[in-house]
Symmetry: C2
Amino acid sequence: MTVAPLVTRLTAEAYPKVKKNPDYKVPDSADVEYFRSFLSEDEMIQSKISEELINFNQDWRKEYRGQSNLVLLPNSTEKVSKILKYCNDNKLAVVPQGGNTCLVGASVPVFDEIVLSLSNMNKVRDFDPVSGTFKCDAGVIMRDAHQFLNEHDHIFPLDLPSRNKCQVGGVVSTNAGGLNLLRYGSLHGNVLGLEVVLPNGQIVSSINSLRKNNTGYDLKQLFIGAEGTIGVITGVSILAAAKPKALNAVFIGIDNFDTAQELFVKAKGELSEILSAFEFMDRGSIEHTIEYLKGYEFPLTKQHEFYLLVETSGSNHEHDYQKLSSYLSSALKSNLATEGAIAKDRAEYDRIWTWRKSVPAACNSGIAQYQFDVSLPLKDLYTVPEAVIKRLKESNLVSNAPEPIIDCVSFGHVGDGNIHLCIAKTEYARSIEDTLERFVYEYLASKEGSISAEHGIGFHKKGCLHYSRSDIEISLMKDIKRHYDPNSILNPYKYI
Amino acid sequence: MTVAPLVTRLTAEAYPKVKKNPDYKVPDSADVEYFRSFLSEDEMIQSKISEELINFNQDWRKEYRGQSNLVLLPNSTEKVSKILKYCNDNKLAVVPQGGNTCLVGASVPVFDEIVLSLSNMNKVRDFDPVSGTFKCDAGVIMRDAHQFLNEHDHIFPLDLPSRNKCQVGGVVSTNAGGLNLLRYGSLHGNVLGLEVVLPNGQIVSSINSLRKNNTGYDLKQLFIGAEGTIGVITGVSILAAAKPKALNAVFIGIDNFDTAQELFVKAKGELSEILSAFEFMDRGSIEHTIEYLKGYEFPLTKQHEFYLLVETSGSNHEHDYQKLSSYLSSALKSNLATEGAIAKDRAEYDRIWTWRKSVPAACNSGIAQYQFDVSLPLKDLYTVPEAVIKRLKESNLVSNAPEPIIDCVSFGHVGDGNIHLCIAKTEYARSIEDTLERFVYEYLASKEGSISAEHGIGFHKKGCLHYSRSDIEISLMKDIKRHYDPNSILNPYKYI
């Protein structure tokens, strides 16, 4: 992926090989009239002037831009149903859209697809403080869900940098991972029920609040991570966790990635139930961050090959601090850790996290970037950047070559086997991106890794599924798409 | 469900309304010859004498008995594939079977279906002690998985009373819950990958070990809890948890179920990350257990309306004990708990658990039983037995009526909203079972509960899905069945 140019090119122009499907009807005035018959002023935006709809057409990273003239923002499930039924009957293509913070271009039109925004469905439906079951409309913004639950001594079971904009339904549709996965697990475990509208307008209401329900195929699971290609999520029932009372963190410098793995095993053993994050950053990514945060106090006194952030969240600050402190001491004593600093108070805790949270922005700033969000078996995690750097050197793409790669740094979630790779170049070129992608994806395929750990497929990775999925798997997925969306009206040109 | 009669009647005789589907081919000598061409002596049992195959035909609770003459026990995925392809081409019906500990009759034939046992696929495939990823054949017995992982300082993320017999593949196929769900979550979150053979013989190998993998529809989820109706699971990749170093437990007596809920909220707040079980038993269920365990030391001095078992598992015994102890003290001080006893050592911990674990057997012993494994929103959990007892009284089914109900007791997992209801009668009658089922299921439907929390559907609850699922949901499930198993060869007469 690339740093945003000032004006995003139309996707149709940037990817001329992707052709518009002539089978789709172009929305006309009769269609608009129909939608107007049951949608109010603030449930519909129609404009011939594309700037007015720019926020719905252009993605978060400003990489993709569609040309839709029609955005529908229904405020009820029934209206979503009416819209989809009509679009299905008339072969009008539709892009479901949540907060539009997708990182792979899944949530914006490619051509003139109708945008179906869930933003007007933004009510909390129910909360049970005893079981922790939280039910809401799909369009509730994650920050608001967090805030509501915080007032009830609970937390939403995942958090993302895009929390101020992303919506609960979108988060579920993309099976987002985030910073709390190590502790609270994936959405496939936490989502208790969904309300979904199928392309034919059928409302499937499985939005129960049961933790155990073995009555048939767990169909809701198909919609978690389906990126709106087989149905539109309109309601979510999810298990909220009790709010942890104590947060502690330590920042550690180490010499090599093998040590990171040893320390992870040690953390699982010694910190066990309070371990809530185990993040790593390599030397290069921290060097960028030091530059980026100019003068902001660094937790350690020396430079190291790798850095770890280990967080605990629990119910007794003193107990947890004692555990984390003795974890750090013995890591230093056994020479696994070279240097370490434990947060003594909330300010220090926040400072440590600021270093971790600033890494992505720091690595993204200033120079053209190619980024990869990949996962692989933990033992092979840091072999990706090593292998990539080696291949880049071999192919003369580093340093003095005509189009030099100037840097390759990485960071990620050790606990989740998830690494984010940033390759910086002086200039962006689609051809270099293609070459790099092939490098990285071929390597991942050889290690049984995934080309998309948490960002999804969308438009960006549609053609690359075969690196992580077998022909049989891809063919079974296509079957599912045809099964639920035979007219292929939902989120076309993407995913599968 | 009923207490086992000494000789189990043939299902075909006990349920004359269930007719054998004449479209299925009856296995003949040519079929046997084909299977013999690639299966060795110990991979095939064929017998005209039904007693030889009794263990494969009869279920764990001795409620159902099929009449299969042919049991195949292939030792490889490729052989499973060959078998299914042949059966699909020839319309031979097949019942996949793990440890055959199913409680709803899902794992035994109804008529003469071929039994496909996974018992000979019993190898651990891989374990990564850093990430905790455990891969094994479907036929590995749960006890062996626990033992293997225990030797590597990890635990299998669920445990069941049937652990000595049930198999990992069967556990996943039935989406078993068990005693650790509150802490480790459901299989939908813990299973990382599956190897599945489809009815047409296609091997779908998605047995990766990635914690994050957002590359398309998460199809493996469909097979978790599908009870072998759309494919046969041959391999499982699952996330093992680090073995907890400290276990603590407390046994509490309380006056009413509202208090149980208050104490659960308190436990989530104060014990938070170390809370690993929150079980309840009502007065009646403990009275049966006191009788059953004759003279075994009871943890409390008085009788109460309800009993709770609260367990913690963590990494520091002293810390955890201190937390649990102060939880109990404040519960007593605030008059939420009437009496309580904390386990001072491992022997006392085991004794407390013996009381909980003996409850099902105690409630099952001696008298004809009707049992229900149901779930519902936590606030309504104990209203089920209350409502049932009320309706039983109204309909004159209690005490002095012609066919008296002599008792109705219950116990379950507060944390999971799961209650097990045992209704005792002097004599078993199918008509009473039907009446009771209607009572219970109608009540559950009115409260948006589930007629099967963890035991599944199988043969027993096939006709009752509509109490917990809408027509649309059932119709979508039937679509999935037809989609994957168009010849309907897998596990017929059951599920959906």
